[in-house]
Symmetry: C2
Subunit: 191 residues, 2 copies
């Protein structure tokens, strides 16, 4: 799976061959084919793998309260740790997104990701409303979808025109502060 | 150019052949090649064509004041008139966006589009601040970029997971009402 990641970053999705993935390992192409009949099958397994990693990462996001965890998530999701590697991987992912209308299996894997991202933000908002740190008059479903959509947009613009994703991170962090925080939250009260 | 549009909707970007485009016209493939050496060249001309159409459409957006024009723009950009055709064309566009890191000419055409979308929203916000309909304490650059990013995200999610783009339209229209309108604007005063 790590070899697939490296090969995708190196070659992109469209021109990726099983040989390119084998080249990133100590195994032969034949050994790869023993586990995965086709490149498509391997890439589906890879999408499942990064989905599991994503879910595990969500579980490690720390913070005493839901708003802090939301900020940490936005920060981690929209800060490239290695600018070039990040963009290359996002490019391969965008190629797969653009294939999804032609490929039900890709569509289903991507939809799983999307649902999980949405559910994470939505649950934090609900938790925040319940403990009084998030305004109770916001529509948590609508705002949750908005976060997922805007993160998708940041990733697309980063790939297509090299627009910095950090800009969207800062916008969303500002949005949390000015629009989502409850008047009664300790943070706003302390201002 | 219209034949290219139809062929892209029909076949997508990756598997598009010059023959597919010729099939949408009364001309032969040889006649197409007389004007465009390669599929790449034809697609660059096509991107220029839809950019010009986009700019012309922006000029027809009517409305007495900048906020009305911004609402109309969001409405037009995020309402699919023909759901299936819209998604197919957006899919082809997303394929081209995912190719941009490998292709400077695509990158440049897409950047032109992006700059134009941003400039349109940004100018309306500045105009609104100047005539008192938009809050003077918003950062027009930041909000302009946010609109472009979120529209990109709506288009990506529409392609990748079939998420309805109208949801983002409604969110952004709500954002204009609750966050951008000035307290002194006639609309807010009339509430």
């Amino acid at each position: 799976m790590e070899a697939t990641y490296r090969a995708l970053c190196e070659h992109g999705y469209a021109s990726l061959r099983m040989q390119d993935i084998a080249d990133e390992t100590t195994k032969t192409k034949a050994a790869l084919h023993y586990h995965y009949d086709t490149k498509h099958e391997l890439l589906l397994a890879f999408l499942e793998f990064i989905h599991e990693e994503f879910v595990e990462n969500l579980e490690t996001i720390e913070g005493d309260d839901p708003v802090t965890r939301l900020r940490t998530y936005i920060h981690e999701r929209l800060t490239p740790h290695d600018e070039q590697q990040h963009q290359r991987f996002q490019t391969a992912l965008l190629e797969i997104k653009a294939q999804a209308p032609y490929d039900d299996a890709y569509h289903e894997r991507l939809a799983e990701f999307d649902r999980r991202s949405y559910a994470f933000v939505h649950e934090l908002l609900i938790e925040g409303i319940e403990n009084g740190t998030v305004r109770s008059d916001i529509d948590a479903e609508r705002v949750g979808e908005f976060f997922v959509t805007t993160i998708n947009g940041a990733e697309t613009r980063h790939v297509a025109i090299n627009h910095p994703i950090e800009e969207t991170r800062d916008f969303l962090l500002g949005y949390i502060d000015t629009t989502l925080l409850a008047e009664e939250s300790p943070e706003v009260a302390a201002r």
